[in-house]
């Protein structure tokens, strides 16, 4: 296997791990809020979170390129903070991927929280557990299967990300040249042998991930 392919695999795993960790941190409060709130903003936030499920990645990539570019509001902010502009950087990919994979993490966690219902938390409160204590001692352990599903889907979806990376990545080896883009490059360059190795690996990987997901005993569907 070519060195560039190995570096693309490593980069992809690094990106997906980091994004999954960030998404669990960011997604959990959002999922908790969505599962508990009766605010009229619930529908709006829920819809915004779900947008990447529906939007073509090119739409997301195009707007991120404009927003994070030197003339965009985000780009001007990051420039003022001395971070430079985000497109063509690993950080840019991480941020884009967090948006892109958000629903795949929020929705399973939200479903798991909703499935717990009010009762266990009311019981905890009556036993004088603080809301934080109740959350960490009751809600999180009960929602564990939801978190596992969320982590697997978030990771797998980021590994499979292509359109957004193509739009904002700039195909830089070791920085933004991820596996899906590398496969595309090989096909375009008519290097079918290299493309086959990576593409077949991707199929096997995806199958194993889904097998892990659907093969779990307590699997109840991730989006009801």
């Amino acid at each position: 296997m070519e060195a560039s392919s190995l570096s693309a695999i490593w980069l992809t795993l690094k990106l997906a791990s980091l994004v999954t960790a960030l998404l669990l941190l960011v997604g959990t409060p959002i999922a908790w809020w969505l599962s508990r709130t009766s605010s009229r903003w619930r529908g709006v936030i829920g819809a915004v979170v779900a947008l990447p499920l529906v939007l073509p990645p090119t739409v997301l990539g195009f707007y991120l390129l404009l927003l994070m570019g030197p003339h965009g509001p985000v780009g001007q902010l990051t420039h003022a903070l001395g971070w430079g502009v985000l497109p063509f950087s690993f950080t840019g990919l991480v941020i884009a991927s967090v948006f892109y994979s958000l629903p795949f993490v929020v929705q399973p966690i939200q479903n798991a929280f909703e499935a717990i219902g009010e009762r266990p938390l009311e019981v905890a409160a009556s036993l004088r557990a603080s809301p934080w204590d109740a959350f960490f001692s009751i809600a999180l352990p009960l929602a564990r299967p939801g978190f596992v599903t969320a982590a697997i889907l978030g990771f797998a979806h980021t590994v499979g990300e292509f359109g957004v990376v193509l739009m904002i990545g700039g195909n830089i080896p070791g920085k933004t040249q991820v596996l899906s883009v590398q496969i595309y490059n090989h096909v375009e360059a008519m290097e079918y042998q290299e493309a086959h190795i990576l593409a077949a690996g991707m199929v096997i990987f995806s199958f194993l991930v889904l097998l892990a997901l659907y093969g779990r005993r307590q699997y109840k569907g991730w989006s009801r």
Binding site: L65, V85, L166, M167, N171
Partner: protein, 253 residues
């Protein structure tokens, strides 16, 4: 007034004639290299007007279009960004023998969306005070290859290599620069040039001796052999009207 009326009636007669032709109109599906997008749209409009045939064009990177063609994509004519891909198709027997011809010779340009940034000499390249230099993927796009050749001959490749951002094709490369995400980059002159001048930003037209000439060849694919509209389009591309359009976008012939 009367001469105007006369012209109008000639026009009306001509369009009636065309209308009768279009009873036999056919559709031609073509695959076109991304750098030729703008001129091809202009040529297709003229061709449709003149012949009544209909052109459906797909634009993309030459390598990608090749893969699609080899896997049964329904294209009649292929306008590549190089000559090696059409030669490959010719050797593989995927085209009508003898149909390969050079329809345009591409010109490489170093371009920035910022007015006055490039001085017409490319000095900015030597100073290297920029974060990103956009090029098309040199493995798949001829303009990317030409950019690498240019930088190599200028002895600057080592200096700027780590500032490369690569577009999947020349259109995406242009997008990186036009949105300001890359300060400058190598694109096709046709993308930033119309009727004798650069349309926006600033540019350095790379001297032809710095890279191997980008001969862009077209072929009539096997599938197009039985399509009269495909043959008509190939002839049209070799004609005077198409030549005028092609040159107005800064291509050589």
């Amino acid at each position: 007034m009367s001469s105007r009326f006369c012209k109008l009636s000639i026009l009306a007669a001509a369009s009636l004639t065309l209308a009768s032709f279009s009873a036999h109109a056919d559709e031609v599906q073509i695959a076109v290299a991304a750098n030729f997008t703008a001129p091809m749209k202009a040529i297709a409009a003229l061709f449709e007007q003149d012949t009544g045939h209909k052109v459906t064009a797909s634009f993309g990177a030459t390598g990608g279009l090749y893969t699609q063609i080899k896997n049964g994509a329904p294209f009649d004519v292929f306008l590549a960004a190089d000559d090696s891909t059409p030669i490959k198709l010719e050797k593989e027997g995927a085209i009508i023998p003898g149909s390969r011809f050079t329809y345009a010779i591409g010109t490489l340009v170093l371009w920035s969306a910022t007015e006055g940034y490039l001085d017409g000499q490319g000095e900015v390249l030597k100073q290297g005070k920029f974060a990103h230099l956009a090029i098309a993927n040199p493995k798949t796009a001829p303009y990317g290859t030409a950019a690498i050749q240019t930088l190599t001959r200028l002895g600057l490749l080592e200096n700027v290599q780590d500032k490369f951002v690569q577009g999947e094709n020349i259109t995406q490369t242009y997008q990186f620069i036009s949105t300001g995400n890359a300060k400058l980059g190598f694109v096709a002159l046709s993308q930033v040039y119309k009727d004798g001048k650069i349309t926006s930003g600033s540019a350095w037209i790379v001297p032809g001796e710095l890279y191997e000439s980008i001969r862009q060849d077209a072929v009539l694919l096997s599938r197009g052999g039985s399509n009269p509209a495909a043959k008509a389009l190939v002839d049209y591309l070799k004609g005077q009207k198409a030549a005028a359009v092609i040159q107005s976008y800064g291509y050589g012939l």
